[in-house]
Symmetry: C2
Subunit: 134 residues, 2 copies
């Protein structure tokens, strides 16, 4: 692997680059998250998407706890080399921690935002939470 | 139009939110750019994508000079309300200022980045530049 491209990339002042994850079969945009140099290198090496969580301030292998990993089929960078696009196979069917297939389930309508997406699982049942009594 | 959603969005410390522009017919990811509150409002109102250029530090209607405007068909926000996805009709066929259909023409291979995309126009002939003698 020729890693010299890493030095061409424009990571921001926090050392991050935004990454769009797109379904390799349907081309649906599933999520946008951030990578640092380490998570991008690991994504290339292991073929599983890993990111940097800005809220938890930690390295994060997508699906490590939920099993909803992302198998990377293709990696692209934009003209400015400041954004990543990965085409992935979404294991478990859902990219979003809420249980929706795509994170982009908030559709803008004249009445405001409405939920418009495919629910794959009940988010109460994952990430170590107990299911509700109902 | 109920604009209250604007107050729910998480613009960053610079007042910006990243926006993924996706072709409404092919679902190809064409570009990622940034919007501030004004450009997002105008995008909704006018139905043409406008952004905030971080490099030129100015409001920017996509295609204003080149004619390669983006007609907005759908606007979505992600679960964290810190990213926009617009599905658009790309007039002129090219989203990228380089003349490529998509900005994401840099494909990662074991040998590094290779150009892999559809060229729509010769970038020398737009944006006020004179064509080369050849």
């Amino acid at each position: 692997m020729d890693w010299s491209f890493l030095d061409s990339l424009k990571f921001d002042q926090s050392g991050l680059i935004p990454c769009v994850a797109q379904d390799c079969e349907t081309s649906e945009v599933l999520m946008v998250a951030y990578m640092n140099r380490e998570s991008l290198t690991d994504t290339v090496n292991k073929g599983l998407a890993s990111y940097w969580s800005r809220s938890r301030k930690k390295y994060w292998i997508k699906g490590e706890t939920s099993g909803n990993t992302q198998e990377v089929r293709e990696i692209r960078f934009d003209c400015d080399l400041d954004c990543v696009l990965i085409r992935i196979k979404q294991n478990g069917g859902a990219a979003c921690h809420t249980g929706m297939r795509s994170c982009f389930f908030n559709k803008l309508t004249p009445e405001g935002l409405v939920e418009d997406g495919q629910r794959i699982f009940d988010a109460e049942n994952v990430h170590g939470k107990q299911p509700t009594a109902s």
